[in-house]
C-alpha cells in the first residue's frame, strides 16, 4: 500500500486536475455488479424492516378463525374491520366471540387517552423547564453557574437502573402511586441532555438582537419569552418529538408506579391484553389491531416529521 500511495501523493492528483469538476466525478459509473449487490442488500434490509408492519395490518384486518386456518396467506383472511372495532370496544361481544375474540372487552381507547395525557404533559413540561434553565446557563451571569452546570452534566452518567427503584419508593411515600402526577413528575423537571442541547444552541445564537432589546429597556424574562424561545424553535421541535416518542413508548416506569388501569398508558394496556389472551387460541387479529393502534401515532408523527426525526437522530449521535 505504501509503495503505491506515498502520503503526499494523495491530494496531489486531485489538485493537478482542476478542470475535472467534483460533482460528476462522485456520481461515477461504478462496476454495476457492486452497485447491484448494494441495492439488493438495501432492499432486503427495507423488507425486513417493513414486513412486520405489513403483517400487523394484514392480521388486524383478518377474521381470527379464518386466519388461523390459513396462516400464510399474504393478504387478509376473511377481510373484516372486526378486530379494530373489537379492541376499541365498538363490536358486539357475541360478534367478537364469533370472530375469535376473547369476548372480554379491552379498553384500548381508554389507555390511548392515558398515553396522550402522559406523553403530552411530560413532553411539554420537560422541554419548557429545560428551555428556561438553558437560558440561565447560556445568557445570564451568576455565581456558581459553571459548578451547577457540571453537576447537571454529571447526571448524564447515572443510568436509570440506579434511580428507578428509589424513585418508586419516593413516589409511594409521597402517596402518588396510580396518579398521573406520580408518573409524570420524576421525568418532567430535569433533563441533563435537553439542557445541554438547548444551551449549546443558544450559545451559537447571535446576541445582537437581544442586546438591542436590552437597550430598549426590555427585561431579561421578556427577552427570553419574546426573542430567545422563538429563535430556538428548531431544537424545541426536535426535542419535543424525541421526548414524545420516548414517553409514548415508555413501559418500565409506568409499570412500577401504576396498577390501576384508569391511569395506565397504552404500552401497559397492550401488555395486559397480550398476557390475558388465551394460551390455546390467542386472538392474534385483535392483538395486531391493538398494536397498530398503539403504533399509529408514531407512524403519523413519522409521516409529518420524518426528515426532522432522521436528522435529529443523526445529530444526537454526534453529540
Amino acid at each position: 500500500m505504501t509503495a503505491t500511495t506515498a502520503p503526499a501523493s494523495a491530494p496531489a492528483p486531485a489538485a493537478a486536475r482542476p478542470a475535472a469538476p467534483a460533482k460528476p466525478r462522485r456520481k461515477r459509473r461504478r462496476p454495476t455488479v457492486g452497485r447491484a449487490i448494494a441495492w439488493i442488500y438495501l432492499a432486503v434490509i427495507v423488507v425486513i424492516t417493513i414486513f412486520p408492519f405489513y403483517w400487523m395490518l394484514r392480521s388486524a384486518l383478518s377474521n381470527n378463525y379464518a386466519m388461523i386456518a390459513n396462516p400464510s396467506s399474504p393478504l387478509p383472511v376473511g377481510f373484516t374491520f372486526g378486530p379494530f372495532l373489537r379492541v376499541l370496544g365498538l363490536e358486539d361481544p357475541a360478534e367478537a366471540v364469533a370472530q375469535g375474540g376473547s369476548g372480554a372487552t379491552v379498553q384500548i381507547f381508554h389507555y390511548l387517552v392515558n398515553s396522550v395525557i402522559y406523553a403530552t404533559v411530560s413532553t411539554v413540561l420537560i422541554v419548557f423547564f429545560s428551555l428556561i434553565a438553558a437560558y440561565a446557563f447560556a445568557r445570564l451571569q451568576w455565581r456558581g453557574r459553571e459548578l451547577v452546570f457540571s453537576l447537571f452534566l454529571a447526571a448524564l452518567m447515572v443510568p436509570g437502573i440506579l434511580t428507578l427503584l428509589p424513585n418508586f419508593v419516593l413516589i409511594k411515600e409521597l402517596g402518588l402511586l396510580n396518579t398521573f402526577a406520580g408518573m409524570i413528575l420524576p421525568g418532567a423537571l430535569f433533563s441533563a441532555f435537553n439542557i445541554f442541547f438547548l444551551r449549546q444552541f443558544m450559545l451559537g445564537l447571535s446576541t445582537e438582537i437581544e442586546e438591542a432589546a436590552l437597550l430598549d429597556g426590555a427585561g431579561k424574562l421578556r427577552i427570553l419569552m419574546r426573542l430567545t424561545i422563538p429563535m430556538t424553535s428548531g431544537p424545541i421541535i426536535t426535542l419535543s418529538i424525541l421526548g414524545f416518542i420516548g414517553m409514548w413508548n415508555d413501559y418500565f416506569w409506568p409499570l412500577l408506579v401504576t396498577t390501576d388501569s384508569s391511569v395506565q398508558p397504552l404500552t401497559l394496556g397492550l401488555a395486559v391484553f397480550k398476557q390475558s389472551s388465551p394460551q390455546t387460541m390467542p386472538d392474534w387479529a385483535g392483538l395486531m389491531a391493538a398494536t397498530l393502534v398503539a403504533a399509529l401515532p408514531m407512524l403519523v408523527l413519522f409521516m409529518v416529521f420524518g426528515k426532522r426525526i432522521v436528522n435529529s437522530i443523526g445529530f444526537s449521535g454526534l453529540k
Partner: protein, 321 residues
Amino acid sequence: MSISTVPPAVEPPAPDRAARRRSRRPTNASAPSHRGDAKLAWLLIAPAMIGFLVFALYPTLRGIYLSFTDFRLLSAPTWIGVQNFIDLFQDDTFWQSLGITLYFVVIAVVLTLAVSIVTAAVLHRVTQSTVLRGLIILPFLISGVVAATVWSWMLDAQLGIVNQLVHALGGEGIKFLTSREWAIPSLALIHVWKNMGYTSIIIFAGMQTIPPSIYEAGRIDGASEPKMFFRLTLPLLRPILALVVVLNVIGAFQVFDIVSVATKGGPAHASNVLQMYIYQKAFGQFDFGYASAMSLALFAILIVITFVQMRLLRASESDNA
C-alpha cells in the same frame, strides 16, 4: 498509508466553537447589563434544580444506601452492611441471569453493529435518500411492547409466518420463544430488528463528516470499494463507532420490555435477564434491599465494561496510524 492527513479535517468544529465561547466570556462579564441576573437565573433553574436534587441525586444516593439494608417496603430499612452483596455472590440465579444477559448482549450487539455498519456504509456510498433512511428507523419509533407483540405472532411456533416459511422450505418448525435454546437468540433478533436502523443512522451521520475528497483520492490510487471501507471509512469512524458500541452495550444490558412481553423470562428462566430478575426481586418478593444491591452491581458492571471498551477502542482519537 495515505490517511495521515485526514483526522484534522474531521474535527474542525470543536476547537472553533470553544474558541468562540472563550472570546465571548470577557465581554459578557464586563457588561453592565448583568445586574439582577443571579436572581432571575435561580428562578429559571429552580424547576430543573428541584428535579435534579429530588429525582436524580437523592435517589442515586438512596439507592446506594438501600443496597446495604434489608428493606421490605412495609417497614423501615435496617442496615445490614455488605450482607446483600455476600448473598448476591452466592446467588446461583444471579450468576445464571448475568450469563443469560451476557449471552443476549453479545448476540444483540454484534449483530446490530455488523448490520448497521454495512447498512450505513452502503447508504453512504450508494444513495443519500432520506426516505430510505426514514424507512429503516421506523422500528425505533415504536415501543418495545409493540415490537415484542408483533414478533411473538410472527415467531409463533405453529401459526407464525416465519415457521410457515421454514415449513415451506422443508425445514422443521422452530419453537422460537418457547424453547430454552431459542428464547435468547430470538429475543436478541427482535432487539436487533428494533435497533439496527437507529444505529445505522448514527453511523451514517458520522460517515457524512468524512470529506468526499478522501474517497476521490483513494479511487485515483486504485483502491476498491471494500478496501476503502476497511482502510478509510472504519479507521476514520473509530470515535463514533466506540460511542455506538458503548451505547448499544449499555442498552442491551438493561433489556426489559421485549423480554417481559415476549417470554416473561421463560421458558423455565431461560431468558431471565438481569433487569427481569431485579424486577421480580423488587416487585414479586418485595426484597428492595437486595434488588437495589443488584442494581448497584449492574451499574458497576456497566461502568467497568464502558471503561474497558473506551480503552480498547481508543475512543478519543480516530485512527491515524
